[in-house]
């Protein structure tokens, strides 16, 4: 992060005129900006300033569809996703350098940068797109499909002891893990799948701590699943439901040991839940302090240490989680924090408990499909 000094809990970002934001996330340092914003019209904007980009740079989706994800690789590569295309582009490293742009005409639910140097996009039932820009491989872009098809909705990359695992929220098919990314242009090596006998609809996943294989997942009905080792063949996910978390589930983040859940009604912070779970506390029996901040939010994404971005219908706010929650002893939140309600809640274990969560092998792949992105004029 460059130059963000969050002295207040909530800071509204300044948006350009006629920029209707659809997505917001962090920028790497080489962009020389703090925040990347995507618009409903398929454009990008960097804040503050324009970073290394110039007004004439080619940074938009040809489809004009709303941006639903942006990822960065190396020191000059950007991927943008929407419901109708994935666009890959370079940022000129010096004046006069011609930027490159390529398009893969498949809708995605987002795009991430994997540690292994790939852009990875969940394509819904169409599979997983993996693209290594600048690669000398004959097939830098590969789509991995499953039979029967899995609906891959959100993706995260976790790295433990140097080994990378991709974890997907796969809706009614549960949680999918794909490990050991050797050469992703061939079949992916190992994979695990957690699914629920009641076809629980997993809509998001997040890492619980860096350098671990621990994750949290969220389903449509606001049930939270915690797993210490997503690749374990013996550990079942621990399900939790917190009475009072209401609305349709949208996102889950893990920040500083807390879990942040966004629903259609409110933002909820489950204080210390992730940390206490990883420390082995009996979190089913301990009360968890749940802070609720009613808001009409579209999306959230982490952005720097202890901060996250909230996309609202007409604005984007940068929120400092520590200041939002107040002092360590529950002191009143700092100036700028929204109204909050705080409750101490003991998690309820769903009646069906975790016996309904079973592990199975991921359905076998079709042969990976190698495709070429369409190189576009700048």
């Amino acid at each position: 992060m460059t130059g963000i000094a969050a002295k207040v809990a909530v800071r509204a970002l300044t948006l350009p005129a006629d920029f209707h934001v659809s997505w917001a996330g962090p920028c790497p340092s080489w962009i020389a900006a703090d925040v990347c914003l995507g618009s409903e019209e398929g454009r990008l904007f960097f804040s503050p300033g324009e970073g290394r980009l110039h007004p004439g740079d080619n940074r938009f989706l040809g489809s004009g569809e709303a941006v639903n994800g942006v990822a960065f690789l190396g020191n000059d590569r950007i991927a943008i996703s929407s419901r109708s295309e994935l666009s890959f582009m370079t940022v000129p490293r010096h004046p006069g350098e011609t930027p490159l742009r390529a398009v893969f005409p498949a809708g995605a639910h987002g795009v991430i940068a994997a540690a292994s140097g790939y852009f990875v996009a969940p394509l819904g039932p169409s599979g997983i797109m993996m693209y290594k820009p600048g690669s000398q491989q004959p097939h830098p872009l590969t789509v991995h499909r499953f039979d029967p098809a899995l609906n891959l909705y959100r993706a995260i990359s976790i790295v433990d002891k140097g080994a990378e695992t991709l974890v997907f929220a796969a809706r009614s098919e549960g949680i999918i893990s794909v490990g050991a990314l050797g050469d992703p242009t061939t079949k992916l090596d190992s994979h695990h799948c957690w699914e629920s006998s009641d076809k629980s609809d997993i809509i998001d996943v997040c890492s619980l701590a860096p350098q671990t294989r621990s994750i949290a997942a969220l389903n449509w009905d606001n049930e939270i699943l915690l797993i210490r080792d997503v690749l374990s063949e013996t550990e079942r996910p621990a399900p939790f439901q917190f009475p009072g978390i209401a609305g349709t589930a949208y996102r889950i983040l893990s920040m500083q040991g807390h879990l942040v859940v966004l629903t259609s009604r409110s933002l909820y912070v489950l204080e210390g839940l992730g940390h206490r779970f990883l420390e082995g506390h009996p979190v089913h029996r301990e009360p968890t302090r749940v802070a609720s901040f009613p808001m009409d939010a579209v999306d959230i994404n982490p952005c720097g240490e202890g901060q996250f971005l909230v996309v609202l219908p007409e604005a984007v706010n940068m929120i400092d989680l520590g200041l939002l929650l107040g002092g360590p002893n529950g002191a009143k939140p700092s100036n700028g924090a929204p109204e909050r309600e705080v409750d101490f809640v003991t998690a309820r274990v769903p009646t069906a408990s975790n016996d309904r969560l079973t592990q199975r092998s991921v359905p076998q792949y079709h042969e990976p499909v190698h495709q070429e992105p369409i190189h576009m004029p700048v």
Partner: protein, 144 residues
């Protein structure tokens, strides 16, 4: 369920509406309306789509069912937007839950066809069938 016509016609255009067996479980490869949705509610989605002329350039109509802040799940795959393909004059219309396709859909429901144009969502917001948050999420391919 046998195909049958609704007893009423749409308020604006007087269109007839057909409850088709195909989209009520008769064809496992076709999109299916949720069993939790009554015929009156299904017709109301169509009636509102016609009332506000929520259409694309193919003259297909699109509808949602908003209950307060919540968009009802219209289909068995948690679709929240229904599509009604254009019917010739004098012929009854029919429809099916359409978008966003959030689970593994039948083969003929995947891909390009499951994507209403942006203008559809903009009209829905303008006439109060969607909130701005609903529209923004649907335009990204997310549930609202």
């Amino acid at each position: 369920m046998a195909d049958h016509l609704h007893s009423e016609q749409t308020h604006r255009s007087g269109f007839s509406y057909l409850f088709s067996d195909k989209h009520h479980g008769g064809d496992r490869n076709a999109a299916r309306w949720s069993l939790e949705l009554s015929e009156a509610e299904e017709f109301s989605v169509f009636d509102n789509a016609d009332l506000h002329d929520i259409s694309d350039d193919r003259q297909y109509l699109y509808g949602v069912l908003r209950m307060g802040d919540v968009l009802r799940k219209l289909g068995t795959l948690k679709q929240q937007v229904a599509e009604f393909p254009h019917a010739d004059e004098g012929q009854p219309w029919h429809g099916y839950p359409h978008y966003p396709l959030q689970e593994v859909g039948p083969p003929n429901r995947r891909g390009e066809k499951c994507r209403p144009e942006k203008i559809v969502f903009e009209i829905m917001e303008r006439v109060g069938l969607l909130t701005k948050r609903h529209r923004k999420r649907l335009m990204k391919g997310d549930h609202a």
